[in-house]
Amino acid sequence: VSFAETDWLRQAQHHDDEAFTHLVETYQTPVYNLCYRMLGNAQEAEDAAQETFWRAYQAINRYDPSRPFGTWLLSIAAHYCIDQQRRKRVPTLDVDLMTDMDAPDPAPQPEKVLGQQQEKEVIARVLDNLNEQDRAIIILRYWQEYSEEEIGQALSLSVSAVKSRLHRARRQLAQLWLDSPQQVALERNHHESPAF
């Protein structure tokens, strides 16, 4: 945590909206990425990320400064996305919709866009088959590089529960990959595409 961030946090706790805006600016990508990976849809991810910051804004006085702010924020985001998924209980992946809604780079290189799009599809496809909590654990582990203790803190789980769920999720992902009919095509992409 930088000095500036500590300062923003202290000011935000004294109802300084501008200081909180700096925190939004700093943490928008990890929060949005978590929401996107959880929900699989750009618009829902945007709404979820905005809602996460609003919840954090409302509860900023209850934030314990001894805990990393990022963990606290991602904990709010993960819980919100898990609740959203449980409410929907419908498949989250709509690859066509994702293709339409994601904003490409301003000057995209065709092969780069294709590679990243394929990558997104592959990741979304495998994550979509996990239950909400296991998906959150995988996202926090691989994108945030959180330890099992940090994941436990973020998702209100014990370390042993995280370990057991992480193992189950990995086992499930491996099995899904084996059973997937797209496996051959995606593996071919994996070997051929410069993005991988």
């Binding site: 909206d17 805006t21 990425n33 945007e46 609003w54 904003a103 495998v126 193992h167």
Partner: protein, 182 residues
């Protein structure tokens, strides 16, 4: 063939002791089923580890700032609604409790008599108040009433401004900050 503990170990490669890793490799060399699962997991893990974080569309912070005053207003409305619901529910409960109390302690005829007496008493009180006000209005000159009316009006307008101005200020603050971050 027994695949344990190798099936567990293959998903925890980073936590294995050298002897465990060697035992796992030996098992994988002879077990095609575990080897396929292991290769599959390595492919998935590679995809996860090399996937790029996804950024929100540009202007995320500006959208946050633009929505903040609206969210605050919505929250205030929601709080007011909750407060009113609470007050209404408490009033209903109290009214119900009063009715139950009256029904269990008095006969309907006694209640009716008491009600008539209460209305009668209230009417007498209103008539007396009206007479007192008439006497006061005869004594106090009309300019004093005009001054009192103006003071009351100014007070009402002032109270409204105190309520409205912070909201207008917050709205403008949000817009001007958007311009800074857009």
């Amino acid at each position: 063939m027994n695949h344990q503990p190798f099936e567990t170990w293959m998903f925890e490669m980073d936590q294995l002791e050298p002897t465990q890793a060697a035992a796992l490799n030996a098992h994988l060399a002879e077990c095609a089923e575990c080897r396929r699962l292991m290769e599959s997991w390595q492919t998935v893990e590679y995809q996860l580890k090399t996937a790029h974080p996804i950024n929100p569309t540009p202007g995320f912070t500006a959208r946050w700032q633009a929505d903040l005053p609206l969210r605050q207003q919505r929250e205030q409305l929601q709080l007011a609604r909750q407060w009113l619901w609470g007050l209404g529910s408490a009033s209903l409960v109290m009214a119900f409790a009063l009715v139950v109390y009256l029904l269990t302690t008095q006969s309907p005829v006694t209640m009716f008599v008491n009600l008539v007496e209460f209305i009668n008493g209230a009417a007498i009180f209103l008539a007396q108040t009206q007479s007192i006000l008439k006497i006061i209005s005869d004594i106090v000159p009309s300019t004093v009433w005009i001054i009192l009316g103006v003071v009351l009006l100014v007070g009402l307008v002032g109270a409204n401004l105190i309520w409205i101005l912070p909201q207008l200020r917050d709205r403008n603050k949000g817009v001007s900050r958007n311009e800074n971050f857009a």
